[in-house]
Amino acid sequence: MPSSAEATTVPLAGLSLLVRVKLRALANRVTVAITEAPVRFGATALCIGMVWIGLYFLFRAIFEYLKQSPLEAAVAIPMVFSFFFAALLVMLTISNAILAYMSLFLADEAPYLLAAPVPPRAYVALKYLETLVFSSWSLVLLGLPLMLAMADLSDEPWFYYPLFLAFFLGFVPIPGAIGLVVAWGAARFLTRRLRRRLIIGASITAALVIIVFVQSVRVDELHPNLWLNNMLFRLNFIQSAILPSSWVSHGVEHALQYRINESLGYLAVTIANALFLSMIAVLFVSSRLPVAFDRAASMRSGDARPTRPPAGGVAGLVFAYLPRNLRLIAAKDLRTFLRDPLQWTQLVILFGLMGLYLINVPRFSSTLSPLEGWGMIIPYLNFGAISFILATFTSRFVFPLVSLEGHQMWLIGMVPLTPGRLLLAKFAFAMTVSVSVAVSTTILAAVMLKMPLGWAALQAVVMFAVCAGLCGLAVGIGARMPMFEERNAARIANGLGGTINLVVSVVLVLAMLCGMGLMGIRNVRRGFEFPVDAGSLLIGGLVATLGVTVGAVALLIGARHLRHREV
């Protein structure tokens, strides 16, 4: 063992140095964004601003609606706060755990810093701060419009604003600290196989709990007042005094009601717990980091998978309809997709939430006549939601497919396959995934709304065309504006080409929704009980043709560009 004198001569890089270098990198990033891509920077800022303003008006509308009935508002508004912060507690814990695991154990920076004389405590504290910032920006995006909307409709005291912000900042580290310990535990104890089983088991359990809960608070059989009482009783647990979310919601309520002492008391409880949990989490994880890092790295090194024929297994079966050379590429892309949890989990979460919502749809449909406007609007909104979710999926995961072949382009370029057929393989992969989730969700929506067969089939066909349009756009623009030198799919999707693809995809969805809306307006008076008429068929056919044509043109442009490009 070295002497204590020797130990003190060890040069140590402190947290302040690590934070400074991160801030320098951030400043450089902003400077580059402003000077090299001012349009993209401005468009991003504009989009964030629009989302923020949209959320403000949404929250304002909710509070205005609730305030129309003062008695209900007295019960419901605190419940809205409790719900909001309880949901944030769960979501932030999960997102912090994922981000902390990735930055502590998977980032390229990790081995570099851990091989240097950086104390584990400084390293863990840095990563903890990073995950707090990365996971909590959404809190600011959601929380500030909530605060302002609430304040606009109340006779709020001046100290409401600083207190609300203080509650936010005090609350964020609590899920962050829990997430940090969860990430450490996953690295330290879970093998890859065990982790996969745990994720699947937890997802199924969570889905079942949500389904059971949703079913238990259905409005169908009960009087609305009984239903409301029943639901409030079941949701009472989220106001439990032991939950950090309830400290914040109670504190904010007290601030709104001019009870500053009570509000400050809750704030002190929140901040004290946040600081205590942060300290415990950082000390605990840093003292056990080397072993956890070793386990995580060893697990990656020992990850061997059984080999399959290039176009064999499930991936090969799924694309059995393709010629062999296209099947090889599509099967390879499907395997890559299925082996990257980041990709398939986002798709499962987005469409899973959509599915859970749809299971709950009969609650509305049973109380609404198809002859009423809502009877036409709900399927239309469902269709729009599915289309927009699909647009985000294709922009994030399908668009980078061609660029990601950059380092293998010499290989792809040498095989006896024209660029057009290469893009066709990418398109086939994207269509297979998109159609399987989007069209099946559309059919589920139609079934839950008890739509007549003709209308359901028409929606399914148009959704198929939406898939074709979005997938064609993502693959075609991806080939027209590739980033072959970039290996990070997220950066490819966030680049200029990815942004253009997202904008064009949204425009296409809006155009197709306009067509569907036209059909809906035409039929509001007629209702679903009438069979699909020639006019509706014509509009549906035109909308579907638009989607397919846009997708095909984008593919042609992409293939032409790829053909003339030197690898």
Partner: protein
């Protein structure tokens, strides 16, 4: 004399697979050691254990008298590690990165500036050092990472594939740099597949195969063991021949 690197009966497993098996290796100060082996032989795992990134299941790893896992920070302060995939913060310039590293190892500003200027000239980095590293080629990144590793004048330089991506002039410069360091009493532990470079500059060579150290010594000793007077390439191919059923047989041959 206290060894620069001392591994005693080190074993490392990845699940069922034994990545490094009972490895004992002592490298004195002032030696340029070349660590060779086929892909997946255990070279990078050994390097990561020397740098304290991985922990041996059994055995001990000491660097300059400091035991990894017990006094790891003191050991890490004496090492510089250059991985096969150079890491740089892509939104920093090369110079900003070097300044960060210098501060991490508490190199004072005057020394830092002098060393950065010297390394920039020797590694021909002047043209790109003030650009963001995101625009660098692999060779440029390798140069900056190498300069960062030398900035605090480490007692032990551990380097994985040092010459990949470097142009011939820089390769020559790096070889000279390594020799200068060993003459000054510093140790260079180099893992490489470029056998000509190992043959040209290494004082001693170790060959690892299937997690076992199957040969250790200078070039003449390896020739004697392999019973051949041919090049290092021939010796390497003979000792790591996949057709040889048992590693022990290879050593005997």
């Amino acid at each position: 004399m206290q060894p620069a690197i001392d591994l005693q009966s080190v074993q490392k497993r990845y699940g069922e697979k034994i990545a490094v098996h009972d490895l004992t290796l002592t490298i004195p100060p002032g030696e340029l050691f070349a660590f060779l082996g086929p892909n997946g032989a255990g070279k990078t795992t050994t390097i990561k254990m020397i740098c304290g990134l991985l922990h041996p299941l059994r055995g001990t790893v000491d660097v300059c008298g400091h035991r990894m896992g017990v006094n790891g920070l003191a050991a890490k302060a004496r090492i510089a590690y250059v991985p096969d995939q150079p890491f740089l913060y892509d939104k920093l310039t090369g110079r900003e990165f070097l300044h960060f590293v210098a501060e991490m190892y508490r190199v004072d500003r005057t020394t830092r500036d002098a060393r950065v200027a010297d390394l920039a000239a020797r590694l021909d980095m002047g043209d790109f050092l003030d650009k963001l590293t995101q625009s660098y080629s692999h060779g440029m990144k390798q140069k900056v990472v190498l300069a960062a590793a030398l900035l605090h004048d480490p007692d032990v330089l551990v380097i994985d594939e040092p010459m990949v991506g470097l142009d011939p002039r820089t390769v020559r410069m790096v070889k000279d740099l390594f020799r200068q360091r060993t003459h000054a009493g510093k140790t260079v532990f180099m893992s490489t597949h470029t056998l000509e470079i190992a043959e040209a500059v290494a004082d001693r060579i170790g060959i690892i195969h299937l997690g076992r150290l199957i040969a250790l010594g200078n070039l003449d000793e390896l020739r004697a063991r392999a019973k051949t007077q041919h090049s290092l390439e021939d010796i390497f191919l003979q000792l790591t021949n996949p057709l040889v059923g048992d590693v022990g047989d290879a050593i005997e041959r």
